[in-house]
Structure formats: structure tokens, C-alpha cells
């Protein structure tokens, strides 16, 4: 949370964390970055943030590979980085487990791997792991619903998930379900969309038909949320509270402006990639994290998934991604 | 074959046909277009299953359930529509389905050697065994089909209009092969619309009419042609060409003027003038380049030199729409691949070149289309009647009539006919000749290409003889006879 306040406003997308001697120019480092296809706002923001960050540091030479949802291709991109002998690889895998062998190979070749967002299945495959908290995101959303339901055990809860075959979607839903069960609620209707505006609209339009009365709706992704909101508008419904996910600037502005249904969103930081690159730079230049006493870059950094409501939206709006 | 019945949706193609073929004879099957000849032999080769009836082989009833079963008995068939695979080589096509192989691997050298032997036996060792069949001319493809039929141990050979794409020399060559086979005791079933061929090669005749046998086992030498025609058509036709309408006046409008037309590597220096009311015939061997001349002046190929004028106005090079607009119409050589929209109704095939006439602001008046098409198909006697029928389901000769109808409707000023009577029966042939003549009399300029010299001489006012891409003779049809034409045509090969 402090990170946001420290932002110098140099860029709305890539906040520069704790300024200090760490930002002074150091040895030239070459960092390879590979991520899934930028086929939705959050993922596009990840890459944009990484790019912006690299632009700020003249000592970073960033190699960005084509975003892809094909693990076969992503593996060969990492192989290319290894062949190129880059200094470090920041990897947001399409599928953590599937990218583990190649990450191990990179580590064996002496190239530190910074694993972002989707975790490898082998602890030795990464030097640093920057994790969003997918499960925690579901929990945050669930807890918020529990709070708002205020003991109402009959509340109808609906969920619009992201791409269903991704482990992260499963984690989010699991967290949501677990948190809800703590207050005796469950998910009455769940449909998956594709993280796109279009799919959000389509799924929501049908879901609203399926459930004539809803109390709470959690939508995993604010980008597809634009479509969900459009569908809600088209259907003329406003009897429920909608919670977003990921934390786009659009969603936050809606919350700020007092949207009829969208009252909150759970942040899933789109700065993870940039954080990964920054940590890689620190690692390579043998610097440590400024505010920690520890002299080494830590092994795991897990990002927090806070709930943004109209009360605290001002605090987060600056760091939100424009989708 | 006894009492063969075959129904297609809406059509009774065969209603009880009898046919018996003896070893060592050439049995000719005659009938008008759509009489059911092709259907009958497709049943014989097990391509279709009969709805009723029995087939006996050497006195035993047999059931031919798959083409393979028929082949196993020794029945080889050359179909009316060339059934070859364009991208396989000559050798592979010949042995398709009964490949020479060991453990699934092709024996290519053996296959090629056997192919060369077969082709040599057919008098065509120059066809390369490894060339893709799609790159061969139609005539050469026909030879390949024949080689294919002979590649197996054949007891009975069925030929469905094999001579349609062949010129006379080739037909003679074919007959030589057939005689060799019959001498070996092979039975041959031969279908053709050229009655003079039947005279040359046939032993006995079966006549089909509207799907049933009207006469069977007639001995060829005891049946006069006129009776055959009567059996087939139910009326007597004087098999003659319509009378010429007198000399075309020299001052008649020069509707089509071609000068110095050249398509590099194929033909060059073609000059041709056709006046209103005149029919000009192009004679020559298969491969002389006659089709290319027609296609080039029609704009379907881009000439390398030369001009084409219609009624004095020069046409844009290589543009079919320009030619059609100027009033030229072409009945192409290969009607299935070049002429017809097989999966469309008859009427839309007829009106496709004159659609603007039936449309207002782009909207078609399909009732008028059908009405006009019906008039035309009735006048051409297309069977079965009904313009909503798919062209694909018509017999070969009737398909040809549909193409003709298209240009009749268009009322062109210049009509180019490439083998207009290929596969057309005697009756319809006479009708087509009369039709062409009456078109000419009404002021249309007509150019006819035909492999039948007799047809060119009989129909045309003026004849051009083409050899190896050059016009070697030009003169009135009345001043030249068949043997002279053949001399001119052959000269090149003698040299």
C-alpha cells in the first residue's frame, strides 16, 4: 500500500517503488521478458508496465518476446533467451507447471529466473517469485460479499469467471467459495467468460436471464467487466451489488462516480511484471530491497489483493491500469 | 442382363433393359441422348446398383456389389466422363486401384515399364508415363483411360463414347486395338453416336429408347442406317446437312475480323474474316490449336499479337466480358469443366450470359427466365423436360444442348462452336445443324471447330484447315473434299 503513496507520479502505469540509491544507474543488464498473449486489458497492462519501466532505467536492456498462449512457443522463446545468454529472465508463464522444465534449464545455465504471477511447480526453477494472490483475490471478494450480506443466508450470489481452463481462475473461484462458506453462503450461478469485453457482455446477458434476482455478482476481471456492465445496463437491472476484479482504472472511476451496481473491485496488481523486472535488476546489480534490512532480494514476494470501494478508491486510482 | 430397372428421383432411367453380349463380338449400344446407355453400363460396372433385374456372367447369375467385384470378373469400363485423377501420373492412373506393389510400397519401375508397354500397344509411346494426367490434352487422357481399361485381365471391355474426343486417325487406331481384343475373345460393348463407326466396327446392335430396349441383337450388316435411326428416334431423319442458303454476298457485313492473331507457342498469324450469314469451319487434327484460336479470339486467353474486331470495333485483348458484350458467344470444348454450372438449374445455366435481360435494377424475374428457357429447351428437345432440373443430372448430349441454348438466348452476332455435336445423338445433331444454319441465315457469323471433317465440310460455307498452329488452306467448302482435307492435315506429319 505504501508503494502507491510513494509514487512520484512520473507514470500512472509503472510506479517507481522506494526511490533511493537503488535507482542510481548501475551495470548494464540484459533482461528477457516473456508473457502470455496480451489478449485482455490486464495482460496488456503487464507488458506496457514492463516496457515503461525499462524505459525509465537506462541500464536495463529489455528483450520482450511475443506474447503467446502457446507453451510450446513460450518455451522456445525462453530457449532463445538462454542461447542469447541474457542476464536474467522474467517469466510470466501461460502455465506455470508447463514452463518449469525450461526455467530449470535456465537456472542450470546460470541465468536467474524471476517467476511472475503463475507459480512453477518446482521451487528450484526460480530465484525470485512474484506472486499475485489469486486465491486471496477470491477470498477478498468473498469476504466483501459476506460483509455486505450481513448475515443474510438467502442472498443469491453469482460469479462470472475468467478463462475457465486456467489454473488461476480455478484458484480465484476456490478462494471465493471458501470465503463465502465461512458465512454460510454459496455460489448460485457461475459462468466463465474469456477476459474480453465481448465475452463479458455475452455471458452476463445470458446469466441475467438465468437469475431473475441476484444479490451479489463477482466478476473476475474488470476488462470483461465493461461488457458485463453494458449487459446489466441493457437489461435494466440494478438490484444487486457487483464486485469487480483486477482493478482497472475504468472500474475504479465507475466506483468513484457511484455506479449503480459496481461498488467494489479486488485489485490484482498489473505491475507484477514490472516488479519482476525491477527485482531482476536489483538482483543482477547485487542490490537489495531498500526498505528491508535483508541484504538479498527475497525469494518470494506475494502481492496483496485489497478491496477497493468508494471509500478508498482515491488511494488506488493512480496505480490502476488503463484497460 | 435381364430386366434391368434403375430409377433416379423423378426419372425412370431404365425400365427393363435386356442386353446380351457374346465373347469376341463388338456389341454396339445405340440410343438417343438420355436413353440410358451410360446408366446401363454403369450398372454393368457396378458403379450403380440396379433397382431390379439380374446380371448373368457366363450363364451364372452374379451380383455386382462394388466396382471391384465387376473388375474381378474382368469387366473394364471407359466412362463417358473421363475418370482420371489429375495429379497422379499416367502410370499411377492406369494402375489405380490395382497398383503393382510389394508390401504396400509402389513398384514404380515395373509400373512405368508396364505403362510404356500398354501405351505402345495403343500406338502412343510418346505419352510420358510419369507426366501428371492433368497436364495431358483430352485426347491423350482418353488414351490413358483406354490403357487403364486394358491394364487388367479384361474379358469384357465397355466403351462409352470413346471416340468423342478423338479425330479420325485416332478412331481408326482405336478400332485396330478393339479388333485385336475381339480376336482374343474379349467381348466389347461400344457406345457411340457416330453411326458410321458402328458400321465399321460393330457386330450386333442393341437399341435403347427412353430407358427400354426397342431392339436387341440386330446384325450390323443387315440393318440399314435409316432403320436404326428410326428405332432410336421413332421417326425417320434424312441424315443430311441443311442446304446452304446460297453464296454469301461479298458485300455482307464483315462481322468478325481477326488479323495476325498469335498465341506464342501455340499458333500464329491467324487471319480470319467472317461475314454476316456465313459459317466458317476449322478443320484439323486434335492438337492443331483450333480450340486455342477460338478461345483467344473470345478473350479467354490473352493473345501475344493480333487484333479481333467485331463489326469494325476492336475488342479489348484478353477480356471475355468485352467479347460477350460485343456479341460473341462460345460453346467450349469441354462442356463439363468449361461450359456448365453443374449444380445449378438448367434455366440458370441458360440465362447466365443474358441475366441483364431478365433483371430490373438487379432484381431477377425468374419466372420470365424459366419461360424463355422452357421455350428454348423445348425447341432443342432437351430431355427430360423441366428447366428446374440440375444440369448435372442430364445426359451428356442434353448438357451440350443447354450450352447451345445459352447463346441462342443471348442472340449473339458471332457464335463460336467448339465440337458442337460431341456426344449428341443423330436426331439432335440434325436439329443442331439446322439451327446453326438458320442462325446464319438470320445474319449471325458462325465459326465451327470439329474433329469430324464431314461435319465441317457439310455445315460450313468456307473451310480453314489448321495444322500445327497455322492456317494451311482456306477456301469454300464446296471446292474441297474430305480426302483433300485429310491430306492437308497429315502433310506435316509426313514431312
Amino acid at each position: 500500500e505504501d508503494a502507491a503513496n510513494d509514487d512520484k507520479g512520473s507514470s500512472d502505469a509503472a510506479p517507481v517503488a522506494a526511490a533511493g540509491s537503488n535507482d542510481e544507474e548501475g551495470d548494464q543488464v540484459t533482461i528477457g521478458f516473456s508473457a502470455p498473449a496480451a489478449d485482455h486489458g490486464w495482460m496488456a497492462a503487464i507488458t506496457n508496465n514492463v516496457r515503461d519501466l525499462a524505459d525509465q532505467y537506462p541500464d536495463i536492456d529489455l528483450q520482450i518476446a511475443e506474447g503467446t498462449n502457446d507453451v510450446n512457443l513460450q518455451i522456445s522463446q525462453v530457449e532463445t533467451f538462454i542461447n542469447d545468454k541474457v542476464d536474467a529472465i522474467v517469466l510470466l508463464p501461460f502455465d506455470g507447471a508447463a514452463m518449469t522444465p525450461i526455467a530449470l534449464k535456465a537456472m542450470e545455465a546460470g541465468i536467474p529466473v524471476i517467476n511472475v504471477d503463475r507459480e512453477f511447480d518446482d521451487a528450484n526453477a526460480a530465484r525470485v517469485t512474484v506472486l499475485g494472490d489469486n486465491y486471496g483475490m477470491g477470498v477478498s471478494a468473498g469476504q466483501y460479499v459476506c460483509e455486505q450480506a450481513d448475515g443474510n443466508k438467502d442472498a443469491v450470489v453469482a460469479e462470472i469467471a475468467g478463462i475457465d481452463s486456467l489454473p488461476l481462475t480455478q484458484d480465484r473461484s476456490q478462494g471465493f467459495e471458501d470465503a463465502l462458506s465461512d458465512c454460510g453462503l454459496d455460489v448460485d450461478a457461475r459462468q466463465a467468460a474469456d477476459f474480453t469485453v465481448e465475452s463479458g457482455e455475452r455471458v452476463a446477458a445470458n446469466l441475467l436471464q438465468a437469475e431473475p434476482k441476484i444479490d451479489f455478482l463477482w466478476n473476475h476481471d474488470d476488462d470483461q467487466g465493461i461488457g458485463v456492465l453494458a449487459a446489466i445496463e441493457n437489461a435494466g437491472r440494478d438490484e444487486f451489488t457487483m464486485i469487480g476484479g483486477a482493478g482497472s482504472a475504468n472500474a475504479m472511476r465507475d466506483i468513484q462516480d457511484g455506479n449503480k451496481v459496481l461498488k467494489a473491485t479486488v485489485i490484482y496488481p498489473s505491475t507484477q511484471g514490472a516488479d519482476g523486472v525491477k527485482l531482476a535488476r536489483l538482483l543482477l546489480q547485487q542490490k537489495a530491497m531498500g526498505d528491508l534490512v535483508e541484504v538479498e532480494v527475497p525469494r518470494t514476494v506475494q502481492l496483496f489483493a485489497p478491496v477497493v470501494t468508494s471509500d478508498n478508491v482515491d488511494q488506488y486510482l493512480d496505480t490502476a491500469f488503463e484497460s | 442382363m435381364r430386366g434391368i430397372v434403375k430409377r433416379f428421383p423423378g426419372v425412370l432411367a431404365l425400365g427393363g433393359v435386356e442386353l446380351d453380349v457374346r465373347a469376341g463380338e463388338v456389341h454396339c449400344l445405340l440410343g438417343q441422348n438420355g436413353a440410358g446407355k451410360s446408366t446401363l453400363i454403369k450398372i454393368l460396372s457396378a458403379s450403380y446398383q440396379p433397382d431390379e433385374g439380374e446380371i448373368f456372367w457366363n450363364g451364372e447369375p452374379v451380383s455386382l456389389s462394388t466396382p471391384q467385384a465387376a473388375m474381378d470378373l474382368g469387366i473394364s469400363t471407359i466412362y463417358q466422363e473421363l475418370d482420371l485423377v489429375p495429379d497422379l501420373s499416367v502410370a499411377e492412373n492406369i494402375f489405380l486401384g490395382h497398383e503393382l506393389s510389394r508390401g504396400g510400397f509402389s513398384q514404380r519401375s515395373t509400373t512405368n515399364r508396364r505403362t510404356r508397354e500398354l501405351l505402345a500397344r495403343l500406338g502412343h509411346p510418346e505419352i510420358p508415363a510419369t507426366r501428371a494426367v492433368g497436364r495431358l490434352s483430352p485426347a491423350a487422357q482418353q488414351i490413358v483411360s483406354m490403357a487403364r481399361a486394358l491394364s487388367q485381365d479384361t474379358r469384357m471391355l465397355v466403351l462409352d463414347e470413346p471416340s468423342a474426343v478423338l479425330d479420325q486417325g485416332e478412331v481408326d487406331n482405336l478400332f485396330r486395338v478393339i479388333r485385336d481384343l475381339t480376336a482374343e475373345g474379349v467381348a466389347v460393348v461400344y457406345i457411340s453416336h457416330r453411326l458410321e463407326e458402328i458400321r465399321q466396327i460393330g457386330d450386333r446392335i442393341t437399341v435403347l429408347k427412353d430407358g427400354s430396349t426397342v431392339a436387341t441383337g440386330l446384325a450390323v450388316d443387315q440393318t440399314p442406317t435409316s432403320e436404326l435411326i428410326k428405332l432410336m428416334t421413332g421417326r425417320s431423319i434424312e441424315y443430311v446437312f441443311p442446304p446452304r442458303g446460297g453464296v454469301v454476298p461479298v458485300d455482307a457485313e464483315r462481322v468478325l475480323e481477326v488479323s495476325g492473331l498469335e498465341l506464342s507457342g501455340v499458333f500464329s498469324g491467324v487471319d480470319l474474316t467472317v461475314r454476316a450469314g456465313e459459317i466458317v469451319g476449322l478443320a484439323g487434327l486434335v492438337g492443331a490449336g483450333r480450340s486455342e484460336i477460338l478461345e483467344t479470339l473470345y478473350g479467354a486467353r490473352r493473345p501475344s499479337a493480333g487484333t479481333v474486331r467485331v463489326a469494325g470495333r476492336e475488342l479489348r485483348r484478353g477480356s471475355v466480358p468485352a467479347a460477350v458484350k460485343a456479341g460473341i458467344g462460345l460453346c467450349p470444348e469441354e462442356r463439363k469443366s468449361q461450359g456448365l454450372l453443374l449444380d445449378q438449374a438448367i434455366y440458370s445455366n441458360i440465362t447466365v450470359s443474358s441475366m441483364s435481360r431478365f433483371s430490373r435494377l438487379g432484381l431477377l424475374d425468374s419466372r420470365a427466365e424459366r419461360r424463355r428457357s422452357t421455350e428454348l429447351t423445348e425447341s432443342l428437345d432437351v430431355r427430360p423436360a423441366g428447366v428446374d432440373r440440375l444440369v448435372r443430372l442430364l445426359s451428356g448430349g442434353n448438357q451440350q444442348k443447354v450450352v447451345l441454348a445459352r447463346w441462342l438466348l443471348r442472340e449473339c452476332r458471332v457464335l463460336l462452336l467448339d465440337e458442337p455435336t460431341r456426344g449428341v445423338d443423330v436426331g439432335a445433331r440434325a436439329e443442331i445443324y439446322a439451327l446453326v444454319r438458320s442462325l446464319a441465315d438470320s445474319g449471325v457469323a458462325v465459326v465451327v471447330v470439329s474433329s469430324e471433317v464431314e461435319e465441317v465440310l457439310g455445315l460450313a460455307d468456307r473451310v480453314l484447315v489448321v495444322r500445327e498452329g497455322r492456317v494451311v488452306h482456306e477456301g469454300p467448302a464446296t471446292e474441297i473434299d474430305e480426302s483433300r482435307v485429310l491430306d492437308l492435315v497429315m502433310e506435316g506429319s509426313a514431312a
Binding site: A205, A230 | E52
Partner: protein, 362 residues
């Protein structure tokens, strides 16, 4: 002679039944065996839309019945019907265009990408600023022009460059979506022009404008396809391009027009999607090409060209849209939906073929 026949034959029915191996009717398959060809389907062109589309209508009715049984009033309500139709509208408009292209012997894999590019172009800051200053029709014009322009490029490369449509439009797919990303900087562009939003969200007698557009495009498409020279030429060009050329049709020009037409439809669909989602983004229409082609082909248009049906396409679109709706109403998860969808597609086609064959053989 023919009396002998009946003597030997035991009757046609017996023969037909007895010989299941005999391909009899099926084996005539004049068309290629693999094309699911009812030898008679062509006859169907004439035998009225009902007989030919009976299977599709039945499939749609079955799906609706399933909807009513499992979801009752939630399915059979006006609101829900409009939900289905609204969804079907965008895909439907593109499918109508695609029917022409496929019938004309081509294919267009780039429809989704063109839609995305059009949507982005119509909603850039510059376009919207201009629209604010002048009129929201500027956005409409931008989308349609971009769509038709992409179609033009496709058409020129295919007709005059002689590159196969599959490859050309695959290239366009990559290029157009890439361009859309570059222009939008991968941001979702939100529509701020009120005139535009208001216009597209009007109802016409209770029917949303999107649905009205779909209906109008369908009817216009049907007329164009069945009653005009353009439609007739499309069939000719797709059925036998060489014969069409020799019949005097300018095949190349016609091909170009077909792709321009589908591009235009994409532009229109882009506008509809923009108004529906109030955004333009490079992710619009992702993977739409497969849905569209599936709807067209299920409808009965031949992928090899030369035969097509607008009514069938509309039914195909409605089947897919209704199916998705029924699944959602029943709260099915995506995977089960996928498996069921696969099965239903095959069953629908089989049903359609059997019925079409029967309809035309009687």
C-alpha cells in the same frame, strides 16, 4: 421383355432392404463423398426452403423444447428471446456476408479481426472527437469504410494475386488484429459520443435496434442472394469459375466484390458490438471466424462453393445462440457445454441431412 423383369425381381422394396451394402442412392453421390452430400440437396434448391431446412428447424425446436423444460419461463420469456436475438445479431450480420463468400467459392478467416479493427478505428480519440464536432455518423462511416477497405484488400490479393483465400485472410487476420492493437495501444476505447449510443440503443416497437438491423440485413441478404444477378453470379463463380468466366462473368471483379461485401458486414457488426459493449477494442470478435463459418456450414452452404442458403445461415446462427443460452440458464459449466455442443452439432447435421434427403426424394 420387361415382363421377364418383374418375374425375376421380388419387388423393389425387398431388394432395397435386402442389400444394405449396396450404396444404392447414397453411392450415386455425384458430389464428393466427403461433402456430406445428399445427391438430392441440389434438388432442394428448388423444393422450397421448408423441406430443405426442416432438419434445422427441428433442431432449433428441440433446443427450445429443452430450454422450456429445463428453465421454464426463464427461457420462454420475451426478455430472454431478445437476449438471444441481441447476441445473435452481430454474429448473424457477419454470417450473412460469409454466406456469400463461401458460396462464391472462398472463405474469410479475417472477419473477427476486421471487426476488431473497425471497432477500434471507429472509437479512437480522433474519430470520436471528430464525431463530437460534427455528427456521430462519422463513426459509422469510419467503421464501414475500414471494414469494406480490409475486404477490398483481401479481394484484390485473392482475385488478382491468385493467393488462396485461406492464406490471404489468415494473413489479414494477423495483420488487422495487430494493427488494431497498435492503433488502440491495446486499450479498451470507451464510447463517449452520446448521439451514437442513443441511436443504437433505441427500440423499434419494442425490438432493439440491433435485432432490427439483423433482420433487415437477413432480408436484404436473402433478396440479394436469391433474386438478383449478383446472387446468381455468386453461385456461378463458386460452382465453376472457369465456366462462369467463359459465360462472360468478370470473375475477378465479382470475387473482389464478395470480400468487400463481407468486410462491409464486419464493419456493420463492429458498430453493433461497439454499441452493445460501449467499447471498441482489439479483442472484439476473437475467434469469431470459427463460429461464423460453423453457422454458415451448418445452415447448409457448401464449403466448396456453388451452393448456399441465407435462411439456413440464419437458422444456424439462431441454433448456436439458443444453445448457449439454454446452457447458461441451466448453469452448465464450460467443459460440459463444450462436449454437449460437439455432440449436438453432429446430431443436428445428421438430422438435417436425413430429412433433406427424404424431403427431396418424395
Amino acid at each position: 421383355m420387361s415382363d421377364q423383369t418383374s418375374g425375376t425381381g421380388k419387388g423393389p422394396d425387398v431388394a432395397a432392404v435386402e442389400n444394405p451394402l449396396a450404396p444404392s442412392q447414397d453411392s450415386i453421390s455425384v458430389e464428393r463423398a466427403a461433402s456430406g452430400s445428399e445427391p438430392t440437396a441440389g434438388g432442394g434448391l428448388m423444393s422450397g426452403p421448408f423441406g430443405r431446412n426442416l432438419g434445422l428447424v427441428l433442431a432449433l425446436l428441440l433446443i427450445c423444447a429443452a430450454g422450456v423444460i429445463t428453465a421454464g419461463d426463464r427461457f420462454a420469456s420475451i426478455d430472454n428471446t431478445l437476449t438471444i436475438l441481441r447476441f445473435a445479431s452481430t454474429i448473424g450480420v457477419v454470417s450473412i456476408g460469409m454466406t456469400f463468400v463461401i458460396t462464391g467459392g472462398g472463405i474469410d478467416l479475417s472477419v473477427g479481426a476486421i471487426l476488431a479493427l473497425s471497432s477500434v478505428w471507429a472509437t479512437t480519440f480522433a474519430t470520436q472527437a471528430m464525431a463530437q464536432d460534427t455528427h456521430w455518423l462519422v463513426m459509422v462511416f469510419a467503421a464501414l469504410a475500414v471494414g469494406a477497405g480490409c475486404g477490398l484488400v483481401n479481394g484484390l490479393v485473392i482475385a488478382y494475386g491468385k493467393v488462396v483465400p485461406f492464406i490471404t485472410t489468415l494473413a489479414m487476420l494477423a495483420a488487422a488484429r495487430g494493427l488494431a492493437e497498435i492503433i488502440s495501444e491495446r486499450r479498451t476505447q470507451i464510447v463517449t459520443v452520446d448521439g451514437f449510443k442513443d441511436f443504437f440503443s433505441t427500440d423499434v416497437l419494442g425490438v432493439p435496434l440491433l435485432v432490427v438491423i439483423f433482420a433487415v440485413v437477413s432480408v436484404a441478404g436473402w433478396v440479394l442472394f436469391n433474386r438478383t444477378t449478383f446472387g446468381r453470379r455468386t453461385l456461378a463463380v463458386g460452382g465453376n469459375p472457369e465456366a462462369a468466366r467463359l459465360a462472360g462473368i468478370n470473375v475477378n471483379l465479382h470475387t473482389v466484390l464478395l470480400y468487400v461485401l463481407v468486410g462491409f458486414c464486419c464493419g456493420l457488426a463492429a458498430l453493433m458490438l461497439v454499441s452493445r459493449t460501449t467499447t471498441g477494442t482489439s479483442t472484439h470478435g476473437f475467434m469469431m471466424e470459427l463460429d461464423v463459418i460453423a453457422a454458415v456450414v451448418i445452415g447448409g452452404t457448401l464449403l466448396t462453393g456453388g451452393r448456399g442458403t441465407i435462411v439456413g445461415t440464419v437458422l444456424g446462427v439462431l441454433i448456436f445462440a439458443t444453445l448457449g443460452n439454454v446452457f447458461t440458464l441451466n448453469n452448465q459449466d464450460t467443459s460440459t457445454q463444450a462436449v454437449a455442443k460437439g455432440l449436438i452439432i453432429v446430431v443436428a447435421v445428421l438430422l438435417q441431412q436425413r430429412l433433406a434427403r427424404r424431403a427431396s426424394s418424395t
